[in-house]
């Protein structure tokens, strides 16, 4: 099965000024695309050739894992952004966040702190365990919570390539902007489909 770069549900300039068109041109057009291309090249002629993406993530390591997980991670991140997003989630997800973290603001604070303090390249995740209990986890480089039996609900890319053209060393500024772009409806759906 050939993996493909997913089409974004918005134009590359649609997240301006919070995330620039230039950042998306590289992040989506170059980095995400390269992970897709590398994955397709690496799995050719291997037992992963016809496997679906999650299967590859769960069973591979090394270069195949890194590229497969980065394809998943970026798709998961980009799909849950939208122009004029932000605000708060509603319904079950809102209740679950308040139940777990005390208030929505506290969740936001903890998630932002996890993003700001992850050292090096990686991802911050809101995940659910087998009992639908929510938590925040950080992963390094390409690592994905699926490998720890956790289901991703939302993610934030804190590789420097996600923000360096826009906010340089000021990662917290990028994280602040991220909250204004979240597509909560989509993330609610992910939670409700658990």
């Amino acid at each position: 099965m050939k993996h493909e770069l997913p089409k974004l549900p918005y134009a590359l300039n649609a997240l301006e000024p919070l995330i620039s068109q230039r950042t998306l041109e590289f992040h989506y057009g170059k980095h995400h695309q390269a992970y897709v291309n590398n994955l397709n090249n690496l799995i050719e002629g291997t037992s992963f050739e016809n496997a679906d993406l999650v299967d590859i993530i769960l069973k591979s390591d090394g270069g195949i894992f890194n590229n497969a997980a980065q394809v998943f991670n970026h798709t998961f991140y980009f799909m849950a952004l939208k122009p004029r997003g932000g605000g708060k989630p509603r319904n079950k997800l809102y209740d679950a966040l308040v139940y777990t973290f005390g208030t929505f603001e506290k969740f936001k604070e903890e998630f932002s702190k996890a993003g700001a303090t992850l050292f090096g390249s990686g991802w911050v995740w809101l995940v659910a365990d087998a009992n639908n209990k929510l938590s925040i986890v950080k992963t390094s480089n390409a690592a994905n919570p699926l490998c720890d039996n956790l289901t991703p609900i939302m993610t934030l890319d804190v590789w420097e390539h996600a923000y360096y053209l826009d906010t340089q060393n000021a990662r917290p500024k990028y994280i602040e902007n991220f909250w204004e772009l979240i597509d909560w409806e989509l993330i609610e759906t992910r939670f409700e489909n658990l």
């Binding site: 050292f119 390249s121 390094s140 390409a142 390539h161 360096y164 053209l165 060393n169």
Partner: protein, 200 residues
């Protein structure tokens, strides 16, 4: 005693056009300054306060993540600035030239191997040319701000060359083209400094 942000041995724009002034300024005045300040905060009031950076790095396996990360960041960047020069580039000389030729078969082979180590380090990290305790040379890479002076390093020894491949080192000028950045680094390598380190 606390660590101070070392002054750059040249102006921010001195490595143009290979490394741009804006990158140098943010890299030094924000990233390196951040590691320096965070290192000072992490050792304040501990028995590491007053120790030299070499001693701190040689004990990181017993220290907090903050000391490992910021101690490494403080040391690595200081070394990195010294290993570049506006009059750099070219090829190594003297004993280092001989050692590189003997170990790798020639300068071009060394350059290929070092560049590959830098290009294939996944995520943030550094590529190194290391002098091992038996005097031999080895190329390796480390994640994040780890380095060959750390007591739990896979390849332990004296760093002769170090190349920062965190995206902040090249993203403003080269974006996703890390290999282009690596080849520009070779245009500014301060081989005199590398030779000095090799001889020490």
């Amino acid at each position: 005693m606390s660590f101070e942000l070392p002054k750059l041995p040249y102006a921010y724009d001195a490595l143009e056009p290979h490394i741009d002034a804006r990158t140098m300024e943010i890299h030094h005045s924000k990233h390196h300054a951040g590691y320096t300040n965070n290192l000072n905060a992490a050792i304040a009031g501990t028995d590491l306060d007053g120790k030299c950076i070499g001693e701190i790095l040689a004990s990181v396996s017993r220290q907090s993540a903050a000391i490992r990360n910021n101690g490494g960041g403080y040391y690595n960047h200081d070394l990195f600035w010294k290993l570049m020069s506006p009059n750099g580039g070219g090829e190594p000389t003297g004993e280092l030239q001989k050692a590189i030729n003997d170990t790798f078969g020639g300068f071009e082979q060394f350059k290929d191997k070092f560049s590959k180590a830098a290009a294939t380090r996944f995520g943030s990290g550094w590529a190194w040319l290391v002098k091992l305790s038996d005097g031999s040379l080895k190329i390796c890479s480390t994640p994040n701000q780890d380095n060959p002076l750390m007591d739990d390093a896979e390849v332990k020894g004296t760093p002769i060359l170090g190349l920062d491949v965190w995206e902040h080192a090249y993203y403003l000028k080269f974006q996703n083209r890390r290999p282009d950045y690596i080849s520009e680094f070779f245009e500014v390598i301060n081989w005199e400094e590398a030779l000095k380190r090799f001889q020490d």
